[in-house]
Symmetry: C2
Subunit: 354 residues, 2 copies
């Protein structure tokens, strides 16, 4: 069993977490260690569902804050154990998101009397298909565990606030035709040629920019995959373009589908996945105080994250964590030590009501 | 060993050949049987290279005709043994091209004193990659074996003359871009969107119709495959359209490449294969006589066939064989008995100088 000493500073704790492998579906040992380390603390009520550990203060505060992070990482890629170089912690999961987990664990162990009640969530299987996601499973099994007024997900965001998140929809747009030998193309109807119109609509498309609480959410509609064709001597009868629509959190999942159907009217359309976004919730008083402490404006979050799961429960949520999100899943990922300190200090000040 | 009795009528012989399996790379037994059946005939000089059997008359005639057919078939598909139904021989290879092979074997055994010297070629591996093609191997190993003034390939052509053949070129046309997370598409450059222009040029393209010896060769330029994309959340950096250019036999291979390069100027172009066509050679006196005997005009051949290998040696060639080419490689392929008789009779009359 991994030995987690929560009295270590956030940098040492991050390094220690990196050196405790926890690839998706293999989080049990780390979840054991987290549960073990938190269970000894008198101010926390600790419970567990699968490999998700829940630790709550119950101080009777007026508001409850949720602080969450996933324990799992993508597979290792010659990037273990950790290395400390140039004021950065390098290694698998350092950025995504053991730096954030270390920060949350430090706060959980040290803040015995925060100004808000806090629910800390350490969950599994975020890096794999949504059906396995520990937060989603917890929400289904025990919705009360997620009760709160406001949530912070400690995904990497360069230690800045990225509020809410955009929705994401993927759909397969298919142009059809009929096969023929390519030496007698006039006997068939070329589906790849028929897909020209799909690509033309995409290139003509002008994405919206949507203002919500003063944040500008920038939408996008893009082809991400294309495939078509049978063989080198056959006129193809089908060509499918997979498009990804990233939409502002003010749009519902159904409205997003309607929009895509309108854009590609006349073609066969199959929605393959669709997850609505999360509203930024900047008008919430506690959020406003948090952003004031940070001293710089919140940014809109463009990529979909688990904050949307809170939003679906009516809980405003934002992303705030150490590390550059563009380094996530790269072999050379790292987290700057300055980010770790900034996140820990900002959250401590805010949670202590300073 | 298969027992081939060349005294049987052409229908029985076709049925017998169908029942002698000879999938590509497994022609040895059938080649043995063909070699054995022809070796006993005094008017033929029989030789063998691999699984290709060559049988020649050496009568000192002024002109030499080549009559060729491949022994191999595509894999069986619940279509063995043969069945005789509705005046058709059904079964694997009946159409492509054991009916043609049976016809050629009949002529080889019976015409002891034809008006032209004849070289009969029965070769292997026509249905697989060109590098294995028995005719190509023979041309490389023993060019003299292919010497002649005129060649008839007995590929299915509905017992009508299809003269020459068009060339075929395949090229990969690639649009490039740069990757980015699809939630921040503006950080990248979408290669699939950039491929719109490739498809637009294809849909705008107007294929030529080229008159050669009174035959109208109809060209074509078509997308046959398209692929692009990395993952459902990544702006793709590459999208490749494989195009197939079918070009008139008057165009050289280099001219075909130049044409494709001109059409897709500005994109990365990789020619993946290129086989020039075959001129119809209708002005040849012997060919003209043959077409006169048939009593109907020759048609242009659009699909590439092995006649091009003769054309490359300077030998005019045409396709003339029993069966509907559109049934080739289908489970339900068959050859009409009428086609077998028509082909045998026409060739006999012509070869006998009648």
């Amino acid at each position: 069993m991994y030995d987690l000493d929560l009295n270590r500073d956030v940098v040492s704790l991050t390094a220690c977490l990196v050196d405790a492998p926890s690839e998706s579906f293999h989080e049990e040992q780390l979840a054991d260690a987290v549960e073990g380390a938190l269970s000894g603390l008198a101010h926390l009520e600790v419970s567990r569902t699968g490999n998700t550990v829940i630790a709550k203060t119950n101080l009777g505060r007026r508001e409850r804050v949720i602080i969450g992070g996933h324990l799992d990482t993508v597979p290792a890629h010659d990037n273990l154990p950790h290395r400390l170089v140039d004021d950065r912690v390098h290694g698998l999961g350092s950025c995504d998101m053991k730096g954030g987990v270390a920060t949350a664990l430090r706060l959980a162990s040290q803040l015995t009397e925060p100004a808000y009640d806090v629910t800390y969530l350490f969950y599994d299987c975020e890096e794999v298909a949504s059906e396995h996601n520990g937060l989603a499973k917890l929400a289904a099994a025990d919705p009360g565990a997620l009760a709160g007024d406001f949530a912070i997900l400690m995904e990497p965001s360069n230690a800045r606030v990225e509020a809410g998140c955009q929705g994401t929809l993927r759909a397969e747009i298919t142009a059809q035709g009929s096969r023929a030998h390519s030496a007698r193309a006039w006997m068939g109807n070329n589906a790849i040629h028929n897909a020209t119109e799909i690509l033309e609509r995409l290139t003509r498309y002008e994405p919206r920019e949507v203002d919500i609480d003063g944040l500008e959410y920038r939408e996008g509609l893009n082809a991400v995959l294309i495939s078509g064709g049978v063989a080198g001597n056959v006129i193809p009868d089908s060509c499918t373009v997979t498009v990804n629509y990233r939409y502002a959190p003010s749009l519902s999942a159904d409205e997003a589908v309607a929009h895509v159907r309108e854009i590609f009217e006349g073609f066969a359309i199959k929605v393959v996945d669709n997850a609505p976004g999360a509203m930024p919730g900047l008008r919430d008083e506690a959020v406003a105080r948090f952003i004031e402490i940070l001293g710089e404006p919140a940014q809109p979050k463009f990529g979909w994250t688990d904050v949307a799961r809170f939003s679906a429960l009516g809980i405003p949520a934002l992303n705030f964590g150490p590390g550059d999100p563009s380094l996530a899943h790269t072999q050379g990922e790292y987290v700057p030590i300055a980010d770790l300190h900034r996140c820990e200090e900002a959250l401590r000040s805010w949670l202590m009501g300073q």
